[in-house]
Structure formats: structure tokens, C-alpha cells
Symmetry: C2
């Protein structure tokens, strides 16, 4: 289930830590910037929309599994899957891969809330055209059901 590739970036030298690999938190920075790309280019939640409606997406939760080290010098890509959505929320799976590889280096889930800022601040319903884009992104996975409980609780049970 390859999903839709939404973002590609080289690694910044500043993102490499004393363990000589991409620091855990910068996978999160890449996922966050990838979500901006998804908003701008796939969901119609671009800067013009945000300025006009004062609505944006807020992150409620994330769950990241770091699966492989990523070293400086490569380009990485992020694939998006829509796991679920309702009138105000979007539950995404995001996979980070080295470009040209199908091996997932980090698998994340994000729960995002459509939120109105300023006066009348609060959770806001997606407009119909945005819901249609979310549905189209979900359909791009071919309607395959999500395979596994990626959001299982953290536990010290034997791996």
C-alpha cells in the first residue's frame, strides 16, 4: 500500500545528532512539513484558504515508530494514507522512506483537527470540497483496509 507521496527533502546537516544519524525529533519536523505540503497541494487547505477562513489544522496526537536509522546525504520521501476522518478530524498515517527505497524508516500516525482561529475559535467542520479531497486521497489507496494496529500502546511486553 504505497499511499500518496506528498513530500521529498534532503537532510539538513543540523538534523544529524551525536549518534551520527537523523535525530528522532527531525523525523517529526519532516512529517510536520509533509503535512503542510498535503494541506497546500492535496487538501485545499493552502495559505489562501487559511487566510480567508482563519481555519487551519491543529495536531492533537502523534505516534511515531522509528524503524531504521537514516544517515546524512540521502533524500527522503513521505507517503500519506488517510486512515479515517470525520467532519472535523483527519487521522493520517505517514511513512518516511529514503527516496528510491520501499523500506519504511519511520511509521507515524497523526490525529489532526480542523480548527478556526481568532473570534469564534474552536473546532470547525471541513467544507464539502475539502471533504471530497480527503475522500479522494483515501480512495487513492484503492480502498485497502489498514493492515495493522500501528497505534498500539507503548509497552515493555516482549517485542
Amino acid at each position: 500500500m504505497p499511499g500518496t507521496t506528498i513530500y521529498r527533502t534532503e537532510l539538513s546537516r543540523d538534523w544529524i545528532d551525536y549518534n551520527d544519524h537523523l535525530r528522532d525529533a527531525y523525523y517529526g519536523v519532516i512529517f510536520s512539513t509533509a503535512t503542510d505540503a498535503l494541506m497546500d497541494h492535496h487538501l485545499g487547505l493552502d495559505p489562501e484558504y487559511r487566510a480567508r477562513t482563519r481555519c487551519t489544522l491543529y495536531s492533537l496526537e502523534s505516534h511515531i515508530h522509528w524503524l531504521r536509522e537514516v544517515k546524512f546525504g540521502v533524500t527522503v520521501e513521505v507517503d500519506a494514507h488517510v486512515l479515517a476522518y470525520d467532519s472535523k478530524r483527519l487521522h493520517l498515517a505517514l511513512d518516511l522512506r529514503v527516496a528510491g527505497s520501499s523500506t519504511v524508516a519511520a511509521a507515524a500516525e497523526y490525529m489532526l483537527l480542523h480548527y478556526r482561529q481568532g473570534e469564534n475559535a474552536g473546532a470547525a467542520s471541513f467544507p464539502p470540497d475539502v471533504l471530497a479531497k480527503i475522500e479522494a486521497l483515501k480512495a487513492a489507496d484503492g480502498g485497502v483496509e489498514w493492515a495493522g494496529p500501528r497505534s498500539r500502546a507503548l509497552t515493555l511486553a516482549k517485542r
Copy 2:
């Protein structure tokens, strides 16, 4: 259950996003840097230890709940709790607060693995003195049991 305050930082202007608050991923950068502080100052896993043993901590999983916006201009602090540990792993809860406030702005869990790099790379047992420091940090919470299922699965069930 205040935990042990392990880190304090001002916010960088670079961490503020187009929604005019701390970008989701930079909570993660703060948690990651706080974990370095925990390693260096509380667990005996400092640069000298890492150079001598080639052992370090790798992040396996994180689960972050973003609870409140944080605006530019404040100082934030991170409190650590040891939820559980075994011979090779450490399950931490980290809370991010604005300094001087007891209100948690983001609640995170991290599962960390003690890992040997280089030759004979792989998961490695904590040495006894490090285990003693982990136990001492856990005891600093007064032995209070962890209150809630912070690592519950992400779901679109009603909040």
C-alpha cells in the same frame, strides 16, 4: 505528580509556525533535547560514557498529546517520569509546561533502547550503576502509580 524537572529552554523564533504558535514538531525537538539532558545529568549516559562504551539511547517510539498552544516569548520546562524499565529499555513520560505554570501543554511518552553502536552493534544491557540511577529517578515520583492510559490508541471515538 510533578516528576523531575530535567530541562528548561526559551523558544526559538524558528520554532513558531504560520499558526503563530510553537509548531508541533518542535515540541518533539524540545523533548529530544530534554532526553539528552536526562542522559547527561541524571542517568550517567553522558558523552564520556557514550565514547567509552559506544552505547547510547535510541528512540523506538513516541506518543505525543498536544494539549495547549505555546506562544513565542515564554520559557518552557520538561518534567520526566519513569513509567517502566527493564534491562535494556526505558519507558519515559515527559511533560512540557510553560515555566512557572503547572498546566501541561504537551504530554509525551518515549520508549528508549540502550544500544551499542559499531562492532557488535545491537541492544545492550544497562550497567548496574545506570539501572540504579533509573530506579532512583523512578523513586523520585514517590512510587505513585501512573494515572492514566496516556498511550491509548489514536481513535476517532468521541472525545
